[in-house]
C-alpha cells in the first residue's frame, strides 16, 4: 500500500492559509450585513435596574439595540441551553435572557448598526444602572466553603496512616491561577436569516453541537439551521461550548431579518470560559528505596455560581505510579465568574503539574535522580482500575528523552551548574493523557474520474485534521492525495464529535477505514461483474485499492482499474457512509504518555528565566503525520512554557473584574521566549486501542511541561516556587 500514513505531509489547507484565502467566522461579508457590538456588565453580581439605550439609538447608522427587554423569544427551560459539553448540575448561562448579572463582562445589550465603528461608539452610550449584590471572586478567600464532588477514583488502603509512617514524606500545596485560552481569532458569528432558514458561520470546535443548541434555544427544526466553521483560528477548548456571541447574532438576525455579524473584542473574550484557578495538595510517602507507599492528591478548583464544571485533576497518579495506599479528593468553590471550561489537557495540565513537581521534591528528599524515582515507581497497570494498558512505552520515553537531552551530564545539587552570569537548571517530568475514540461517521463519494470527497462534520482547529484525513483516505482508496477533497466544518455533513479531547484523529480515521472498506466492496462487485474478471471469487478483504486499481492481495497481477470497474458497471459515483466502531472493552487502559526534559537559564542578579531547551518524548501510538504531529506537540510545549512562566488572569477582587483583559498584559509566549524544542515520537505499535492504532496528540504536548520547567528552576536556583506562573519576583531572592 502506497503509504501516505506516517509520511511527513505538508498541510493540504496550507495554501489557503498562507494566501489569506481561508475564511474564518467573522469574514463572510454578505450584502446588507449588520454589525453588532456588545455592551457588557461592569459589575460581577446583581441586577439590572435600568438600561438606557436612547443615546445609542440617536447615533446615525444605529438600527436597534437589543436587551433582555426587547429581544426575540428564546427557550425558557434549562434543558434547551444544555449543549453537549454542559454539565449535569446547574443552569447554563442564557445570553441576554433576563435582568440578573452573574459575572463581570456579561453581555447586557447588543448595539446593531450599519457599520462596526458606529456600533462600537453607540455601545459606549448605553447607560446601565445596577442593583449590586455582594460578590466573591477569590478562590483563596472562599476556600473554607469548598465542597467535595463525586469522583471515579476510589481510595486504596489507608493513605493517611501509610503517609504518617513513611520513611520519607513530601507534602505541599501547588497553585495554578486562572488562565484564558486567547486563541488568535476573536470569537465571532455571522448569522444569515433567510425566510426561516438560518445559516451561521461560527467560531466553534463543534458545528453540530452549536446547531443542536441553536435549534433548542430558538425552537427551530434541525433542517432549518446550518452551522459552518470551515476554519477556526485556534480553539484550545474555548470553542467546545457554544459561546454567547452566536446567540446574540441569531437573536439580532431574527429581530432585524438581516444578516448580522457579532465579533467580540479581545477584552470581552475574558468573560468566556477559562482554565479554573486550582489549588492542588500532594502528600507522597516513600520507602527509602524510592517506591511509593502513600499517595494523596486533592484539588480545589473554581466553578461558577450557576454551573458545576470539574475535570479529573487528581487521578493521573494512578496511571503513572504504583502505590498500595492512595486517596483522591476533588472539591469545588463557587465564585461569581463565568463557568470555567476545558482548556488544553483540562485537569491533566494542572493535576500532573502538581504531581510531577511533588515527585521532584520527593526525589530531592530521597537524594535520588528524578528519572530513577519515576522508574522505581513505574506502573505497568492502571492502578485505579487494576488493568493493563493497550500499550505504554513510557520507559522508552524516559530513555530516549534523557539521551537526547544529555541528562547524564546533570549534577544533582541545585545551583551547581552555571554558564557565565546564568544559573543553569535541568528538570524533568512525566506526562499522561487519554487515548479516546468517539462515534464518528464519514462519507466518501468516489467519482469515476478518480476523485474522492471525504466528509464529516469535524472542525480542523489547526490540528491538521484536513491533512491526516486526506492521507488516510488516499491510502485506503489507493488514490493520489491530490485526488482527495476533504470537507469539514459543516453541520449538514455526517455526524462527528467535537474537536477536543485528542479523539478526532482516532475517531475519524477509523471511520474512514470502515467507509473505504464499504467503497472497496462496491468496487469489487463491479469488478467481479466484468467479463472474465481476474478478481472472480475474491472477497472484500482479499483485495486492496492500490494506485487506482483493485488488486488481489495474494497475486498482484490480478487487478482491475477502478475506472474500468466503474465504467463497466455504469457507475459514475459510489457513495458510502460508515461509522467507526467504538470499543466497549474495559479490559485495558487507553493512554498516551510522555517524558519532558527542560533546561532553564536564570540570570542570577535579575532573576530573568529563559527556557533554553525542551525535549518532549511522546509515546502516542501510530503517528499519522510526523510533520503536523511535531507541530502539535511543539505547540503544547510552548503552552507549557506559558503556563510555567507567563500566564495568569489577574483579578481585582474588590470589583470582581479581570485587570489584564488583553493580550499584552496577559502574557503569552512570544518568539523571543521560545528556543530549542525537540520532539521525539517513541515507536508504539498498538493493535488493541483501535484498528489503526491511533492515540491522538492534541493534549499530551502540554502535560508535564510546566512541571519540568518548575523543577528546572528549582535545580537552577535552589528555590522551589509552587504557585504559577514562576515570575522573576518569586525567584529573585535566591537563598
Amino acid at each position: 500500500m502506497a503509504s501516505h500514513i506516517g509520511s511527513a505531509t505538508s498541510r493540504v489547507d496550507g495554501r489557503a492559509k498562507v494566501t489569506g484565502e481561508a475564511k474564518y467566522a467573522g469574514e463572510f461579508n454578505v450584502p446588507g450585513l449588520v454589525h453588532g457590538y456588545v455592551v457588557e456588565s461592569t459589575i460581577p453580581k446583581g441586577r439590572i435596574v435600568r438600561i438606557d439605550t436612547s443615546g445609542a439609538l440617536e447615533v446615525d447608522g444605529v438600527i436597534d439595540v437589543l436587551t433582555h427587554r426587547n429581544r426575540p423569544q428564546m427557550a425558557d427551560k434549562d434543558d434547551a441551553y444544555k449543549d453537549e459539553v454542559a454539565t449535569e448540575k446547574g443552569s447554563p448561562y442564557r445570553p441576554l435572557y433576563d435582568d440578573i448579572v452573574l459575572f463581570s463582562g456579561q453581555p447586557l445589550a447588543l448595539v446593531l448598526a450599519e457599520d462596526w465603528e458606529t456600533a462600537r461608539v453607540a455601545a459606549s452610550l448605553v447607560k446601565v444602572e445596577y442593583e449590586k449584590a455582594p460578590h466573591i471572586t477569590d478562590l483563596h478567600a472562599e476556600r473554607a466553603n469548598a465542597y467535595a464532588i463525586d469522583k471515579p477514583e476510589k481510595p486504596r488502603g489507608d493513605a493517611e496512616r501509610a503517609f504518617a509512617s513513611a520513611a520519607l514524606r513530601h507534602e505541599a500545596e501547588y497553585f495554578i491561577p486562572t488562565e484564558h485560552h486567547n486563541p488568535m481569532e476573536l470569537f465571532a458569528s455571522t448569522a444569515i436569516w433567510d425566510n426561516g432558514q438560518l445559516t451561521v458561520y461560527d467560531k466553534t470546535q463543534g458545528v453540530q453541537n452549536v446547531q443542536q443548541y441553536l435549534c433548542s434555544v430558538f425552537k427551530m427544526k434541525p433542517d432549518a439551521v446550518r452551522v459552518m466553521s470551515p476554519y477556526m483560528g485556534g480553539g484550545f477548548g474555548s470553542g467546545l461550548r457554544p459561546q454567547y456571541q452566536v446567540v446574540l447574532a441569531v437573536l439580532a438576525a431574527r429581530a432585524l431579518n438581516r444578516p448580522v455579524r457579532v465579533m467580540l473584542s479581545r477584552a470581552q473574550m475574558y468573560a468566556l470560559g477559562h482554565r479554573p484557578a486550582t489549588i492542588e495538595r500532594l502528600a507522597l510517602g516513600a520507602n527509602s528505596d524510592g517506591t511509593l507507599d502513600a499517595m494523596t492528591h486533592e484539588a480545589i478548583a473554581v466553578t461558577s455560581q450557576f454551573e458545576e464544571f470539574a475535570r479529573n485533576d487528581t487521578g493521573w497518579g494512578n496511571l503513572l505510579y504504583k502505590s498500595p495506599n492512595a486517596k483522591f479528593e476533588h472539591k469545588l468553590v463557587k465564585l461569581d465568574v463565568p463557568t470555567s471550561c476545558d482548556m488544553r489537557a483540562p485537569g491533566a495540565a494542572t493535576g500532573v503539574y502538581a504531581l510531577e513537581c511533588a515527585m521532584d521534591e520527593l526525589a530531592v528528599a530521597l537524594k535520588m535522580d528524578p528519572v530513577q524515582l519515576r522508574l522505581q515507581c513505574y506502573s505497568d497497570r492502571d492502578q485505579g482500575a487494576d488493568i493493563p494498558y493497550t500499550s505504554k512505552q513510557l520507559r522508552e520515553c524516559y530513555r530516549q528523552g534523557a539521551a537526547a537531552f544529555g541528562w547524564d551530564k546533570r549534577t544533582a545539587e541545585p545551583r551547581s551548574m552555571r554558564e557565565g552570569s546564568d544559573l543553569v537548571g535541568w528538570g524533568m517530568a512525566s506526562g499522561v493523557w487519554e487515548a479516546l475514540q468517539m462515534p464518528a461517521t464519514v462519507r466518501i463519494v468516489l467519482t469515476a474520474n478518480g476523485h474522492a470527497e471525504v466528509a464529516t462534520a469535524a472542525s480542523d482547529i489547526g490540528t491538521g485534521t484536513y491533512t491526516i484525513m486526506a492521507q488516510v483516505a488516499a491510502d485506503m482508496l489507493g488514490l493520489p492525495i491530490d485526488s482527495i477533497n476533504v470537507k469539514l466544518g459543516d453541520s449538514t455533513l455526517p455526524q462527528c464529535p467535537l474537536e477536543g479531547g485528542s479523539w478526532i484523529a482516532s475517531s475519524v480515521c477509523n471511520a474512514i477505514a470502515n467507509t473505504a472498506r464499504a467503497v472497496r466492496g462496491d468496487l469489487l462487485k463491479l469488478a467481479i461483474g466484468m467479463k472474465d474478471s481476474p478478481l472472480a471469487g475474491a472477497g472484500v478483504d482479499d483485495v486492496a485499492l492500490i494506485d487506482g486499481k483493485i488488486v488481489s492481495k495474494r497475486d498482484a497481477t490480478r487487478a482491475v482499474s477502478i475506472a474500468s470497474a466503474m465504467q463497466s458497471g455504469n457507475a459514475d459515483r459510489i457513495t458510502r457512509e460508515e461509522a467507526n466502531k467504538v470499543a466497549e472493552d474495559k479490559s485495558h487502559a487507553r493512554n498516551v504518555h510522555s517524558a519532558i526534559f527542560a533546561e532553564v537559564k536564570v540570570d542570577e542578579q535579575l532573576g530573568v528565566i529563559r527556557v533554553t531547551r525542551v525535549v518532549n518524548a511522546v509515546a502516542a501510538g501510530r503517528i499519522l503525520n510526523p510533520k503536523t504531529a511535531h507541530s502539535q506537540v511543539m505547540g503544547g510545549v510552548v503552552w507549557g512554557i506559558g503556563m510555567a512562566l507567563h500566564e495568569e488572569t489577574l483579578f481585582d477582587h474588590r470589583f470582581g473584574r479581570v485587570m489584564n483583559a488583553n493580550i499584552a498584559e496577559y502574557h503569552v509566549p512570544v518568539h523571543a521566549d521560545v528556543h530549542d524544542i525537540k520532539v521525539i515520537f517513541v515507536d508504539e505499535p498498538d493493535e488493541i486501542v483501535n484498528p489503526l492504532g491511533i492515540k491522538g496528540l492534541g493534549e499530551i504536548g502540554i502535560v508535564g511541561v510546566a512541571a519540568a520547567i518548575a523543577n528546572a528552576v528549582y535545580h537552577a536556583t535552589g528555590k522551589r516556587v509552587r504557585d504559577l506562573p514562576i515570575t522573576l519576583d518569586k525567584v529573585v531572592q535566591f537563598n
Binding site: K17, V18, M184, G462, I663
Partner: protein
C-alpha cells in the same frame, strides 16, 4: 450609511463623522474608497475592500495578526487610520503571490509547517517580509527578537523562524 438630513435627524449625543474619499494602492491595484476618519486601515481592508486575509486579533497593536506592508514597511494596520494613508502603497497577504506562484515566504511556511490554525499566519508572513527588507536580523536570535510583535498562540514559533531563515537564504 449616513442618515443626516433625513426626517429622522434628532439631537445627537455622538455625531458620526463625515466620510472622506481616499485613494490607496493595494496589492498593485488603485483603490478609491470613502471611509470615516475613525476607520482603521485594518477595517478598511477587511470590511470595505473584502481583503479578509489581514486578520484582526486584538485591535490594540498587541498581537501582530493585522501586519501589512505600507510603502515597504511592516505596520500594525489596526493602529493606523485609513485616512492617514492617502496615496500609500499597501501590500497585504493577498498581494504576495505573483501569477499564482507563492512568495518564497509563503512556500517556506508550508514547507516548515510554520502555522497551525492559520490566523496569525498572514501577519507573520507580512512581518517577515518587512523584517527581511529591513536587513537587520541575521541570526535566529535576532529573528526571534524582531518577530516578537507577532504572536502565534498555536506555538509554531520554531517553525516560523526556520521558514524565515529558508526564505532569507533564498532571497
Amino acid at each position: 450609511m449616513a442618515r443626516s438630513g433625513t426626517a429622522k435627524r434628532v439631537t445627537r449625543t455622538a455625531t458620526v463623522p463625515e466620510k472622506i474619499p481616499i485613494r490607496l494602492t493595494v496589492n498593485g491595484n488603485h483603490m478609491e474608497l470613502t471611509v470615516a476618519p475613525w476607520t482603521t486601515l485594518l477595517d478598511a481592508l477587511r470590511d470595505h475592500l473584502d481583503l479578509t486575509g489581514t486578520k484582526k486579533g486584538c485591535d490594540h497593536g498587541q498581537c501582530g495578526a493585522c501586519t501589512v506592508l505600507v510603502d515597504g514597511r511592516r505596520i500594525n494596520s489596526c493602529l493606523t487610520l485609513a485616512v492617514m494613508k492617502q496615496g500609500a502603497e499597501i501590500v497585504t497577504i493577498e498581494g504576495l503571490a505573483q501569477d499564482g506562484e507563492l512568495h518564497p515566504l509563503q512556500q517556506a511556511f508550508i514547507d516548515h509547517d510554520a502555522f497551525q490554525c492559520g490566523y496569525c499566519t498572514s501577519g507573520q508572513i507580512c512581518s517577515a517580509a518587512g523584517l527581511i527588507a529591513e536587513g537587520k536580523a541575521k541570526t535566529a536570535d535576532e529573528i526571534r527578537e524582531l518577530m516578537s510583535g507577532n504572536i502565534c498562540r498555536c506555538g509554531a514559533y520554531p517553525n516560523i523562524v526556520a521558514a524565515i531563515q529558508q526564505a532569507m537564504e533564498r532571497s
